[in-house]
């Protein structure tokens, strides 16, 4: 009976793991773990940093002071939010909350970007987390004003 071989009545027939087997397992397991970590790091270093093209978002006149505008940068899958404070200064951030990736919304009266999912809150001036679960700041989108147009030129993580 197979199960009786696995669960023998006698102590000395029990298949206990030897010290050498355990040491072998630990060494090989640790080695495998270390090499896979190195491989992942190598792939991460080799990966090309996505290009950040200059993209025209909108005309400055479309965003009056105290309002915001959602746009996509650098690709159509990356939602961002352009905020113009009351003094007329433009700032732009990724719209993806750094906690669990919900979309943040602009609260002009508090000068914050609020995440409704877990009541997280970021400053709309520099993207720092102010309250709630997020601990990392929102990536900032660099904005340049070229004539009447607003142009996104890069990401500052």
């Amino acid at each position: 009976m197979r199960w009786r071989e696995d669960f023998p009545v006698r102590w000395d027939e029990d298949n206990y793991m030897t010290r050498r087997e355990l040491a072998k397992f630990l060494t090989l397991g640790s080695g495998l773990l270390a090499s896979v970590n190195g491989l992942i790091a190598f792939i991460g270093l080799r990966r090309e940093i996505p290009a950040t093209p200059a993209i025209t978002i909108a005309t400055a006149a479309r965003v009056p002071p105290g309002t915001s505008l959602v746009f996509h940068y650098p690709t159509a899958d990356d939602p961002c939010i352009l905020v113009r404070d009351r003094s007329g200064r433009f700032e732009a951030f990724s719209q993806v909350c750094t906690h669990l990736s919900c979309a943040v919304v602009h609260r002009a009266d508090q000068q914050t970007l609020a995440c409704p999912c877990h009541n997280g809150s970021f400053s709309s001036l520099d993207g720092r987390p102010l309250a709630g679960p997020p601990t990392r700041r929102l990536p900032r989108i660099l904005i340049e004003q070229r004539g009447a147009d607003l142009v996104a030129t890069g990401i500052e993580v």
């Binding site: 669960f7 009545v9 006698r10 102590w11 000395d12």
Partner: protein, 208 residues
């Protein structure tokens, strides 16, 4: 010198309960006696008999355990149930032909004699054998027993069709080769109501 072994000489038992008390003192199960002191035909006789675990070579208690809780050491000592494994099903209680394992509801576990494994594994004698004043329980070499006792030490039993060999020896008259216990078939029990036990002293006292 031959190996130390456990010998039971039922005819020498005087029923003093010293073994029962000594068993309670054992470190592995302190306060709980695991030896059974049986009365034999109590109405007519004062004969008693100590019953320790016989430590079968092929322990049926361990064979029937569904939780793999009863283990046998390399020396052939059948251990008490392992606390983390025993599920209290009492399969072993029903299976043992000697009636040794007992289910203890308080700890929800089967406990039985393990021949004082903490003592015998380091060369000391089991608690019960150290205190028995009449030598009914003895932990000695076979040579010593043969020199000092009459009769023969055997370790073979026959229960119906099943032959059992045990690690513990019993002393029997010289002409006995193995102890044979006939088994009453269940079918014969069904046909008639069970007879009252003539040696149930409590029942006898109630009648008078």
């Amino acid at each position: 010198m031959s190996e130390l072994a456990f010998f039971i000489d039922y005819s020498r038992c005087i029923g003093c309960q010293a073994c029962v008390q000594a068993c309670e003192e054992c470190d592995t199960h302190r306060g709980r006696s695991l030896i059974h002191l049986e009365t034999i035909e109590r109405r007519d006789s004062v004969q008693t008999a100590p019953q320790v675990c016989m430590h079968c070579e092929d322990p049926i208690c361990a064979r029937v355990c569904p939780a793999d809780a009863i283990k046998q050491t390399a020396e052939g000592v059948v251990q008490s149930s392992l606390k983390p494994r025993c599920i209290g099903c009492s399969n072993c209680v029903l299976a043992c032909p000697f009636g040794v394992p007992k289910y203890d509801g308080e700890v929800d576990q089967m406990m039985k004699c393990d021949m004082c494994y903490d003592r015998t594994s380091t060369g000391r004698r089991p608690m019960c054998a150290t205190v028995c004043p009449s030598g009914a329980l003895a932990f000695a070499t076979i040579d010593e027993i043969m020199r000092t006792r009459q009769g023969r030490a055997i370790n073979e039993w026959q229960f119906g069709d099943e032959r059992v060999r045990t690690k513990v020896f019993v002393l029997v008259p010289t002409e006995v080769v193995r102890v044979t216990v006939p088994v009453i078939p269940m079918s014969s029990l069904k046909r008639r109501p069970p007879l009252p036990d003539p040696y149930d002293v409590a029942a006898i006292l109630e009648m008078h």
